[in-house]
Amino acid sequence: MSDDGDWGALMAAAQAGNGGAYRRLLAELDGWLTRYYARRLPSGVTQDAAQEALIAIHSKRHTYDPARPFKPWLVAIARYKWIDRLRAMARQLETELTDTLAVGDHEQGVVGAIVLAELLASLKPAQRDAVRLVKLEGLSIAEAAARTGQSESLVKVNIHRGLAKLARIVQERGDAE
């Protein structure tokens, strides 16, 4: 994998229109982003998150200043998209709550988002349990409700509130890569 300096040089070349350099850069960033989100999001959404970040990098590539290190720029965009994804997951729950209380399995749940798991300690116990069981361990809402003793709608509310709070925490405290 290239180091920060190489990535910066590749992006500078991409800004000048060098497609080959850009292709190489994006391929390397794809691997980095996939690993980044694997530590922070349920595995069902890491690929989508990496894609979104690649598109964001593409659309905002003019904001990279070649005189500065590349990695902080990359981390800032990746983190922004991470917060975006947490908020989107919270909004999705909100929509489901508004539309219907019928609950399907949350196949996006997964184990492995280490950073996300660590952040859960900041949540209230009911929110923490709901997010952990459904988003990290892959249980359905019904299973999580049975496990925690919460109603299904309450599990959804707690996931929604928990994810929204996580997004706020990440926004406020920053994320050291």
Binding site: A14, Q15, A16, G17, N18, G19, G20, Y22, R23, L26, A27, D30, Q47, A50, Q51, L54, I55, A56, H58, S59, K60, R61, H62, T63, Y64, D65, P66, R68, P72, W73, A76, I77, R79, Y80, Q171
Partner: protein, 213 residues
């Protein structure tokens, strides 16, 4: 690699881009500001008693205070459009500067032997008119900063929006200061703060939604 088709598409029709330059954005803002002031003065917008006003401490307090706040606000806003930025640091400095300017105004006011009752000093009809005028004068700044924010990549859109709103608001008030005949610190503190608060709130509420990326 699952994202290879996407990477091919992004790299396939790559167009050169001009890297963002903060200095260029400041120049654009300074140009717009200078044009706005020049237009206002050319169209007869300067207060008729400006020759007398320049001998008053409160006039210079108003003008320099708002000018300094505009500069801090603009710098905070433009810098917040970079992905790697800490807009809250600039916003805290801005809030401190507001407090300092108001404290200096209070000092000037307490030094003046004013006998008029508070309510009469506020001249609320005139004050409301001032609020509307300074809000209108902040429009070029909020539009320009909003466009720069859209082109940039703010990673804290709420903070950027707040900075844009505040910077535009004090800019509008700064331009209006050339027109406003009042140099009463109480009047300025109340009505200018109200006008700035309204513009700031509009920026904070509207901009995050239209600058998503």
């Amino acid at each position: 690699m699952p994202n290879e088709p996407l990477i091919d598409a992004l790299a396939g029709d790559l167009a050169p881009v001009r890297p963002r330059r903060v200095a260029r954005e400041f120049l654009i803002l300074v140009g717009i500001g200078a044009l706005e002031i020049a237009l206002m003065l050319l169209l007869g917008g300067a207060r008729p008693d400006i020759g007398v006003a320049i001998s008053l401490a409160s006039f210079w307090w108003k003008l320099l205070g708002l000018g300094a706040l505009s500069a801090i606000g603009m710098i905070t806003a433009v810098r917040s459009f970079e992905p790697v930025s800490r807009p809250w640091r600039g916003l805290r400095l801005f809030a401190l500067a507001v407090g300092l300017v108001l404290a200096v105004g209070w000092g000037i006011d307490s030094g003046d032997a004013v006998t008029m009752p508070l309510f009469e000093r506020l001249m609320w009809r005139h004050g409301l008119d001032c609020v509307l005028r300074m809000a209108a004068l902040s429009t070029p700044a909020i539009v320009a900063l909003g466009l720069l924010m859209r082109r940039g990549a703010s990673t804290d859109r709420r903070a950027s929006a707040l900075a844009v709103g505040a910077a535009s608001a004090v800019w509008g008030a700064f331009v209006f200061a050339f027109n406003c005949p009042s140099d009463d610190p109480l009047y300025i503190a109340v009505w200018y703060c109200l006008g700035c608060a309204i513009v700031t709130l509009i920026g904070r509420l509207v901009l995050p939604a239209i600058t998503r990326w």
